[in-house]
């Protein structure tokens, strides 16, 4: 299978008052055609920054210092700005946590969608109208003709997010980057948006890079998942394997920290300390200061992603507990 998007050894730094922030430190993952890939991690793990870097829309004080971003075999880090403009929106669309800030408040939903359709196809007026209605229907918005006439503020957050997804589809994008698309929404609405994403993958063949902090969201939507910590992927593989037979102590800690009915009356297991702030590069494994299984080698050399089972190359973990040289 050829990957649609491959991020290889990506490094991103920010210059701030406090010093250089190492936000992404050698992140590697890929998204295959028609797949939903989840990038999961806590705040400051570099997951959102990595996505901004893919589209090269980092804020002014951030820059990519190393690595490649291959989209269809084409390295986006080397692309000219004019080429990037053709790729953003047309090939790769992005939706954010707060849909209300992504929609223009002074135009109707219909005119915003139609503008995108006309920009990407040279369809007639009538065909454009038709296509817009189809798209709104496709994202399961009730009464598309009425929604076309509505202004963004007249729609609820969930409906606005559906409109954002319809606009991503309108551009004919092949990859949708969804950065915490449901975090601002109520749980019942979140559920519906996630179902819509799964549905679109199935019917339209859309590839989705889903960024989230919520392991439940990953479990219910993603085919594969990468767990990010301190700007690196520490574990990656098919969702069910990563979440059921998690190997990395960080993944294990994250899952154990989730409150659940079964844990009731008992203390939750928590990872001591908190996520590193990125102001220095932690030598060795980035998780070693918080890891219960830390060994001498962990403090010295960063572990590399290696297959958990020699026969099964999909599920990989970056941890010396599982590498043949150090595992006793």
């Amino acid at each position: 299978m050829t990957e649609l998007l491959t991020v290889e050894n990506l490094h991103v730094v920010f210059q701030t008052y406090a010093g250089t922030v190492y936000a992404v430190n050698g992140m590697t993952f890929s998204v295959q055609p028609g797949e939903i890939f989840g990038l999961v991690g806590e705040s400051g793990c570099g997951k959102s920054v990595a996505c901004l870097a893919i589209l090269r829309i980092l804020p002014g004080h951030g820059r990519i210092t190393a690595g490649r971003v291959l989209f269809d075999g084409h390295d986006l880090t080397q692309a000219k700005e004019s080429e990037m403009q053709a790729i953003r929106g047309r090939q790769i669309a992005m939706i954010f946590q707060d849909p209300s800030t992504s929609l223009n408040p002074v135009f109707t939903v219909g005119s915003q969608i139609k503008r995108i359709i006309r920009h990407h196809t040279q369809a007639s007026r009538q065909a454009t109208e038709q296509r817009a209605l189809e798209l709104l229907d496709e994202v399961a918005l009730p009464d598309p003709p009425r929604i076309m006439q509505a202004y963004p503020h007249e729609l609820s957050g969930g409906m606005q997010q559906r409109v954002m997804i319809a606009m991503a589809l309108a551009s004919g994008a092949r990859l949708l980057i969804a950065d915490e698309p449901t975090t601002a929404l109520d749980v019942t609405i979140q559920n519906q948006i996630l179902e819509l994403l799964v549905e679109l993958r199935r019917h339209v063949g859309l590839s989705i890079l889903l960024i989230t902090h919520n392991l439940g969201v990953v479990a219910e939507t993603c085919d594969r998942v990468g767990v990010a910590y301190a700007g690196q992927i520490v574990e990656i593989g098919p969702t069910s394997e990563v979440l059921h037979t998690m190997k990395h102590p960080y993944t294990q800690g994250l899952l154990a920290a989730l409150p659940s009915a079964q844990q009731k009356g008992r203390d939750l297991l928590s990872i001591p300390g908190s996520v590193p702030n990125g102001l220095s590069v932690i030598p060795g494994c980035p998780f070693h200061p918080r890891c219960p299984h830390v060994m001498e080698v962990c403090r010295q050399t960063p572990p590399r992603l290696t297959a958990v089972n020699p026969g099964e190359a999909q599920h990989q973990v970056a941890c010396y507990l599982y590498s043949p040289e150090t595992a006793q």
């Binding site: 008052y17 406090a18 001591p272």
Partner: protein
């Protein structure tokens, strides 16, 4: 780590976030990179020191205070009189230095009074809301709807000309801007939980405003006040120009321009010197204010 008896406390190890800076230190770090602002600061310092030490800096302090010296009148700039003399033969440099005492202190006092009236009213309006807010804000509307120069003229002519009355007249037209600014800042502050936290521990309202609200709304007020210093000096010069400010023979940059305008074509130095003083101070305060505004805004702050 030792917790209270009976409480298990999980050891909490966490690296302290890296060096952080207080707000004013960050502002200064950004400010000092702005060349124009530093030039502005230098100009203002020169004028202030000049006004403060005027008696020591000029050989003619009595002329600066207004004593005529008719024999020397209309002398062009020379070694004895670097900026020439005026229509009563007074040394123009001495007049500019002494005039600065009036103009600068009028500007400062106007802004101080406007801040003292406007800031508390804004904080009260924003914090209490409701009908108190309505009344205060409608009052600001009324004051803002008046052309400020005209209102100042009216007040000054009703109370009579003179330094104090002119100052009061300008300040009265000025405070509503601070009320508006502080009110909007207070409203956004009220959304922050620490104000609610203070209410929840039962801190009385006036203490909340004094300890939690006011200190947190003052940064934009200082920025605005700096920008306003220039404008206040300009307006006070205008009122002095039409004869409402300090009365001759005392010097003010505004009345110097007024007196000099009749002779400007042939003897430009003496109105020109006062005009230049006004121009430079206003420009300097604008440089400083602009830089402060950029420095206080985290998005515009220079790295």
């Amino acid at each position: 780590m030792q917790g209270a008896p009976g409480i298990e406390v999980s050891p909490f190890v966490e690296p302290a976030p890296a060096a952080t800076y207080s707000e004013w230190r960050l502002i200064w770090r950004s400010f000092r990179q702005d060349k124009l602002a530093l030039i502005g600061l230098a100009i203002i310092l020169v004028f202030i020191l000049g006004a403060a030490f005027a008696p020591l800096l000029t050989p003619y302090p009595e002329q600066g205070r207004g004593d005529p010296n008719i024999l020397e009148k209309f002398k062009p700039p020379s070694a004895a009189h670097p900026l020439g003399t005026d229509y009563l033969g007074r040394d123009v440099l001495a007049r500019v230095l002494y005039g600065g005492r009036s103009s600068l202190s009028m500007g400062f006092l106007v802004v101080v009074i406007a801040v003292l009236i406007g800031v508390p009213l804004g904080a009260i309006a924003g914090y209490l809301g409701g009908w108190v807010d309505e009344i205060i804000m409608r009052a600001t509307d009324v004051f803002m709807a008046f052309p400020s120069l005209l209102l100042a003229l009216a007040i000054a002519s009703a109370l009579g000309a003179g330094f104090t009355n002119t100052m009061i007249a300008i300040a009265v037209t000025w405070w509503p801007w601070y009320t508006r600014l502080v009110r909007s800042q207070t409203l956004s502050l009220r959304e922050r939980f620490f104000v609610e936290a203070a209410r929840s521990i039962g801190l009385p309202g006036h203490k909340i405003v004094l300890t939690h609200v006011l200190p947190n709304v003052m940064t934009p007020v200082w920025v605005q006040a700096t920008l306003d210093l220039g404008s206040a000096i300009l307006i006070s010069a205008a009122l002095n120009f039409v004869g409402l400010g300090v009365q001759p023979p005392a010097a003010d940059w505004g009345n110097m321009v007024s007196q000099g305008r009749l002779y400007f074509i042939d003897r430009p130095w003496f109105a020109g010197a006062a005009g230049a003083a006004i121009f430079l101070t206003v420009l300097a305060f604008n440089f400083i204010g602009d830089a402060l505004r950029d420095a206080a805004d985290p998005y515009l702050r220079r790295t």
